[in-house]
């Protein structure tokens, strides 16, 4: 017996033929003008794209560090509160934070496997997102994990020791660093 699915649907996409004319009444009178109120909508495709010149500003040393295989974080000079994701000023004291070098190892605090995503990342699915916890840091770092099978997702991954790896050809993105199991 073959399995069947009467709810199956073809994925919807845009595109198609270019149309150069639309149906419209040949004669306009009170009746046909009234019928226009019930006309099906005309839908068009519009493309909009733009290039931004985005500055990493006070966080720039972090990205420069990644290109040199150094993971930098921030630390409040007064309290020692330590940020694993760069932050120019401390949330409690308002002090300008110092840069500190982080270890290349941490543990997985939480994770997911994305089987779907935003358009930009669809070709990379499935991919694994993790929040990395570093010894001595008060905040976490969002990153990618490779080196495990996405289909093997398990809560046992939480607490796993991971180590940083760096892209040889840096893209100046936070994904210039990623993590793999440490053992």
């Amino acid at each position: 017996m073959t399995d069947t699915n009467s709810d199956a649907k073809q994925p919807e996409t845009l595109g198609g033929f270019v149309v150069h004319n639309l149906p419209f009444p040949n004669h306009l009178d009170a009746n046909t003008l009234e019928l226009l109120k019930d006309m099906a909508p005309v839908q068009i495709e519009q493309t909009y794209c733009i290039t931004y010149l985005h500055s990493y500003a006070q966080d720039s040393p972090f990205f420069a560090g990644l290109t040199n295989r150094v993971f930098l974080g921030n630390r409040d000079p007064e309290t020692g509160y330590t940020y694993a994701t760069p932050r120019g000023h401390d949330m409690t004291t308002g002090n300008r934070n110092d840069w500190v070098v982080f270890p290349n190892e941490g543990t997985i605090h939480a994770f997911t496997v994305c089987h779907f995503g935003s358009e930009e990342f669809l070709p990379q699915c499935p991919f694994i997102l993790i929040l990395v916890q570093f010894e001595g840091a008060d905040t976490l770092f969002l990153s990618r994990l490779i080196g495990v099978e996405p289909e093997d997702a398990s809560l046992d991954w939480i607490g796993m020791k991971v180590k940083a790896r760096y892209l040889r050809n840096a893209k100046l993105k936070p994904t210039d660093v990623y993590f793999v199991p440490a053992e």
Binding site: L14, Y83, P86, T139
Partner: protein, 453 residues
Amino acid sequence: MRPVYTVSGGVSKFTKARPDKTYQAVVKEAYDYAIEDISLTFRQFNELVDGSVASYFSDHFTRQLMAAIMAQDYLGLCPKPSHRCEGGGATGGICFQEAWKAVASGYMDICVAYGFETMSHVETWKGNEFIAHASDVSFDYPVGGFYSGYYAIMVTRHMKEFGTTLEQLATVSVKNHANAFHNPYAQKRQRLTLQDVRDAPMVAWPLTRLDICVMSDGAAATILCSEEGLAKLEAAGAQVRRPLVKVTGIGRGTDAMRMADRPHQSYDDFLKHNLLPHEDTADTRSYYRHLWDRGFRYPGVHSFRAGRMGSREAYKNAGISDPLHEIDFVELHDAYTSSEIQTYEDMGLCRYGEGGGFAVSGKAFVPGIDYGLDLPAEPVCPVNPSGGLIACGHPVGATGLMQAVFALWQLQDTVGLHFGDDTLQLNRPKRGAIHSHAGTGTYVTVSIMEREE
């Protein structure tokens, strides 16, 4: 601050796409419904209303800056005062509270809050990309920006920390879809089983497609007024239902945009800043002490401090000391089954760590509906009797206002009138809470609405 009443509301049918009307005309559906429900004409109401607050989330979706003014002029509200508010998923809840402030402060006697979102103009994966831009574009988005992924990260921590199960998550989906089966405004009216939820396509482990709300086109509007405003409406012939529904408390909290930046507070700081008054007992202090001894830190990524603080403020303003037993129902922001469970805890319907057990207890269900589940306890405080975001849809700028309208109808005992089906009408509820939530818990609003005796 003076008393503020919610006297009427309207909601457009939430649906995948509304190519038949521009967003302005969809807003007008909700606006006209609210006016007709108090038996005024469009002209009569527009003469009386002092101004408005508008809400929509994303300029990207409409590809139209200042879209709110185009709704304002379409509704014939120019040149009356107005402004647009925006706060991610909480946009609608913020709009409701801004309208409340306009009236409570004496700035306006009658204010209409309207909101909308048109999410169908781009494909789902592009919509996900737009929404993901509501995360840090330097450190979050480029790593794999996807909100379902962010929430899945949170729930893995919740599961690890508290033992929350996939079945508990799925129970929320079954409940909310079953409720929405009786709500004609809802986008997804389905009877599901736990297995259906788990068998749905995986989106971000462990969340499946049926754990997650859908994108929608839709609008909602609600009319708020002072006692003076009420007198003006009634002098013009408005038929305002009695008993009146008063907004007795609002609260709002915030937290850091990046989940990674959420602090891991000490036990003492939690007690000092975040404990709800009804939790201040020896038993609950001991319970939390035990959690801390096991490594629990607050809020971490498993809890929404903004939701807790918004609840605390709203409860204080409304004089609520035992939310589970003093609130008759809650319409909360269940963009994910997991976030409904997290929010039970933030709102103090149960303690932190007990949300999963609360979800399957039966306490948050609507009486009289057969969910096909074995529920050990009787309903106490139904959560999302409308079906919530998961089943109604989530046209972002409209969602918080939709909650206000559905809560109003519950408190007016008019659910049957508006839905054509009174299955979801609770037994003369006196007090409801609406909860609207942004980002990964960045802005959260809680508003309390009460029927006046």
